[in-house]
């Protein structure tokens, strides 16, 4: 199948006062790929994600997602496009007044006319698919541990069976077992659902285990993108120290061994 561009970013510029975060940034995301976005703290990874999903309006540029110009389309078109995407925020961002099951049901309740019984069954399925125990559905976000909150956030992001999944630091704060379980969850969902995943992370193990392509944000643009192996041969000092540091070696050794 011909690789189809699902997200196309052209000339994106983001400015906060005098600080320029992105300057003429361009990036393409293909259907079915897992794209990892890395960069130093403050290099605008989260700002990029927030621009794509429409949480903030960039100073200039064009973003096309699933054929919709997210910056200029009508509110209805934008809502239709965002119904085909799911976002998992860093700490889950669950609605604290709702139980986990109600959180997962919330997008279906808003966007689709599904009867309550099906909705409940599908929510339970999502909860189980992300690896939460069935009884977690009745718990409230305040009762969950950090890892469970992330999984519940993922279950909610998957609620509408999205085509594109945005993950913001999915493994930050997870124990290594939980983190690698999360990695294999992402990989298996990509294989079964044909998901496109836009992944912002610092976790080299996650990058190694899940990503087809890695985009490095630096100097206010996408400095370079490619596979892990390709990026290891880039001789930019920051990229080099990122992919050749002791942690990178450990991640690579773990993947090889």
């Amino acid at each position: 199948m011909e690789a189809e561009t699902v997200i196309e970013i052209r000339g994106l510029t983001n400015r906060f006062g005098k600080t320029v975060v992105h300057d003429n940034l361009s990036l393409d995301v293909m259907r079915g790929e897992v794209l990892g976005v890395v960069g130093a703290s403050g290099s605008g990874k989260s700002v990029l994600l927030r621009s794509i999903v429409g949480l903030m309006t960039p100073s200039a540029g064009q973003i096309t997602m699933l054929g919709t110009d997210v910056l200029r389309a009508s509110a209805a078109d934008r809502a239709a496009a965002s119904a085909r995407t799911g976002v998992m925020f860093q700490d889950g961002a669950l609605f604290s007044a709702l139980s986990v099951r109600e959180n997962v049901e919330a997008p279906m309740r808003e966007r689709l006319a599904v009867d309550a019984e099906t909705r409940r069954a599908l929510a339970d399925l999502r909860i189980s698919m992300v690896g939460l125990p069935p009884e977690a559905g009745d718990l409230f976000p305040a009762d969950l541990s950090g890892g469970m909150r992330k999984r519940a956030g993922l279950a909610r992001a998957l609620s509408l069976d999205p085509e594109i999944l945005f993950l913001d630091e999915p493994t930050a704060g997870l124990d290594p077992i939980g983190a690698s379980a999360f990695d294999s969850l992402v990989t298996s969902m990509r294989a079964t659902l044909g998901l496109t995943v836009f992944l912002v992370t610092h976790d080299l193990d996650t990058l190694q285990a899940t990503c087809d392509r890695i985009a490095v944000l630096a100097e206010r643009r996408v400095l370079v993108s490619g596979t892990m192996a390709e990026l290891r041969n880039v001789d930019d000092p920051w990229v080099h120290s990122y992919f050749h540091g002791p942690r990178a070696h450990a991640a690579l050794a773990a993947a090889v061994g």
Partner: protein, 356 residues
């Protein structure tokens, strides 16, 4: 599955996804029981579709590799329905238990509040022994927030109360030709009671809620825990500056309310009854002495302590979720206003017994 007559397969086509779930389900329901489902013409299948196919228990044919992988994943993830979980039934004794729990909760909350008051008192005494420990900057900041910034609303409220009293009083007193006593009516009621009571109610609404929300959101972001592990005392850092700021500012706000109330009352008396400002002054000085104002203002520090303590305590009781922040904030205002009115009634009895 032992099928004697092979039923003709049901050929599904197009997308089998969440948004087409109802159509697909209708087709499946119409098909013969046990008929296999053929997916050769299905171009999209998502977890909702796989769930539907899996839950019918029909054999599935013609699925491509990704589709069968998805169906296996979904099948594995399908929660086991636990039918044995019996629903708890309502019993008559539940109501009794509810009453008991409410009483127990009330007693526990009262004990907790008393403990909190004691703790703050102890910290206050420690701070008075070592005045350098007092966070002066924080206190001045709160004095501005709860005091200075509240002056316009308190002055307007006092003025309007004075106007209303003069207006209503005039209508009644005119029947007896005792118009001039409207001055006494305004002065006594505003200076003794209404000025400070209504100021306290406004401040409770403004500041008790602000204290709860500020401290509560700190609690939610673990700032209070961070203070504790750093050896900083949240009572000393957060509660005492607010408490002292409010105890200093509420009497001043009460005085503002008293003065603007007298001004509003005097203005209305002039307009409505023709009592000139100089006549108003003479009558005021002849019949009302400073004791009336002092009786009123003497209640202010007590009201201030109630408002600040309730606001801060409710803030510290906030749990991790946004719901509890909202609940505590509204509870802080209700409890503060309620206690202010109760204590005001106790003051009335006290002053009556002492004949002040």
């Amino acid at each position: 599955m032992a099928e004697t007559i092979p039923a003709s397969p049901l050929n599904l086509s197009g997308p089998v996804i969440l948004s087409t779930l109802d159509e697909v389900r209708a087709r499946l329901d119409r098909a013969a029981a046990g008929a296999p489902v053929d997916l050769s013409a299905v171009n999209r299948l998502d977890t909702a579709g796989a769930w539907l196919l899996g839950s019918t228990g029909r054999p599935v044919t013609g699925a491509d590799e990704a589709q069968s992988l998805l169906m296996r994943k979904v099948q594995d993830a399908m929660p086991v329905v636990d039918e044995s979980a019996a629903r708890a039934r309502w019993r008559a004794t539940d109501m009794l238990a509810g009453v008991g729990l409410a009483v127990q909760g009330f007693i526990a909350a009262t004990a907790h509040s008393l403990g909190f008051v004691g703790l703050v008192m102890a910290r206050l005494a420690a701070t008075l022994a070592k005045p350098r420990r007092l966070r002066l900057t924080a206190m001045v900041h709160h004095m501005q927030a709860v005091g200075l910034n509240a002056v316009p609303i308190v002055a307007l409220m006092g003025f309007l109360v004075g106007v209303v009293l003069a207006f209503q009083g005039a209508a009644q007193l005119r029947q007896f030709g005792a118009e001039v006593f409207v001055v006494d009516l305004i002065a006594v009621s505003i200076l003794r009671e209404l000025g400070i009571l209504l100021t306290a109610i406004i401040v409770a609404g403004r500041s008790a809620s602000a204290f709860t929300a500020a401290i509560g959101s700190m609690k939610m972001r673990e700032e209070i825990d961070a203070m504790r592990v750093l050896g900083l005392d949240p009572i000393e850092l957060l509660v005492l500056p607010r408490l002292l700021a409010l105890m200093i500012m509420l009497p001043i706000l009460g005085l503002v309310a008293d003065l603007s109330g007298l001004f509003g009352g005097g203005l209305m008396a002039w307009v409505e009854l023709g009592i000139s400002p100089s006549q108003f002054r003479t009558q005021l000085l002849a019949d009302v002495d400073a004791t009336q104002a002092l009786v009123g203002l003497s209640k202010a520090p007590v009201f201030a302590a109630i408002i600040a303590l309730v606001g801060c305590q409710q803030g510290l009781m906030v749990k991790g979720d946004a719901e509890s922040l909202g609940m505590r904030t509204s509870r802080a205002v209700v409890i503060a206003i309620f206690l202010v009115i109760v204590v005001d009634a106790l003051f009335s009895v006290f002053f009556a017994v002492w004949g002040v």
